[in-house]
Symmetry: C2
Subunit: 210 residues, 2 copies
């Protein structure tokens, strides 16, 4: 049975991206500072075909664990468009990726095992398709923020992991702005930190008002 999870990098003031985002500035102004800890990990660099360099400590294991459990990814149209303009020829997902979009487009197969499927089926049916092809592994709701929040609030996510970077963006896109708190009940499960980033892992509660 596939678990459905979200893993987001977030600044200490709550932002997942800076202002002025777009295909030429995918994380927004200052947004890369939220992910700097990740960009230097071996597991991240390997996935992005940058060889065997990088750190191999606890933060690397966090990334390794995330990548190794993913059987399929789901993302929004805007995240895809921002990525399409920037990913290397070998897309870094290495799984089927479902892109939520109204655009009708044939599957787009990339080197290294990533195939993008463009779907307009709604949250639940897309998730069902992702689970079908995940081969018993887990499904990651990648982003962007709106898609993540929609899946969280629809009660379709089992686990939320936040990697809290000790930086401030001051502007941009906050993960939880506009959240409907009646639909989202979280219970912390674990917390670890390095000097660069703090990882907090939550289980989504199924009971309560939902």
């Amino acid at each position: 049975m596939s678990n459905v999870f979200v893993h987001m990098g977030i600044s200490l003031d709550g932002y997942v991206a800076g202002p002025n985002r777009g295909p030429k500035n995918p994380l927004g102004d200052g947004g890369t500072t939220v992910h700097e800890w990740m960009f230097k990990q071996q597991a991240f660099l390997r996935t992005h075909s940058t060889g065997d360099a990088g750190e191999t400590g606890p933060d690397n294991r966090v990334i390794e664990d995330i990548f190794s459990r993913i059987g399929a990814n789901i993302m929004g149209k805007r995240m895809f468009e921002e990525g399409e303009a920037n990913w290397p020829e070998e897309s870094p997902f290495h799984t089927p990726v479902f892109v939520l979009t109204k655009e009708v487009r044939a599957p787009w197969e990339r080197k290294g095992g990533t195939t993008f499927y463009f779907v307009n089926d709604g949250l639940e049916r897309t998730l069902a398709r992702a689970k079908e092809v995940a081969g018993g592994k887990d499904v990651r709701i990648c982003g962007g923020r709106d898609v993540v929040l929609q899946y969280l609030q629809a009660g379709l996510v089992d686990e939320l992991s936040l990697s809290l970077a000790p930086v401030f963006l001051g502007a941009g896109l906050r993960l939880f702005d506009g959240v409907d708190k009646r639909t989202l009940a979280l219970e912390p499960v674990s917390a670890t930190t390095s000097k660069d980033v703090t990882h907090v892992h939550y289980a989504l509660k199924r009971s309560g008002t939902r």
Copy 2:
């Protein structure tokens, strides 16, 4: 040598108080949900003279550690006024408390070892006075938010602890809104969690741009 520290309860969407705060609603609408984990701990209830009830697990030890290290407190005028209307006769601080205010007022001595001193000396001189009377113990910058941020940005704080409750307020006062990120560099030191709350402890970096 006294360390200077901040400990704040904060919601997952970054708020330390809800909207519509005032002496009759000191934490603002919904604000108590951020501190519910604390209100049920033995160390908190004891400090508020509510007897020996309460939980005694890891979250209680966090509170015990905080209270046991404090030799003097500093707070803003508004936090004092909100508290004055609500604290029991035996104020819960049990140390000297310096209240930053333009009001000229004689020291106010309460049962149980709390004396409030009303000072208009600026951040640094008030801190120096607090260290003098702390008897080698630490100085806590209690709040409210503006006073905490002023001390943080002035480079006068050694440690910041956040107790991150898995709740959302959606409105109110955010700890880091308007923070000048050039003046505040944090390094995570530890992170622990219970099912109710996640404690993240930061050291303030003295180097860098400051």
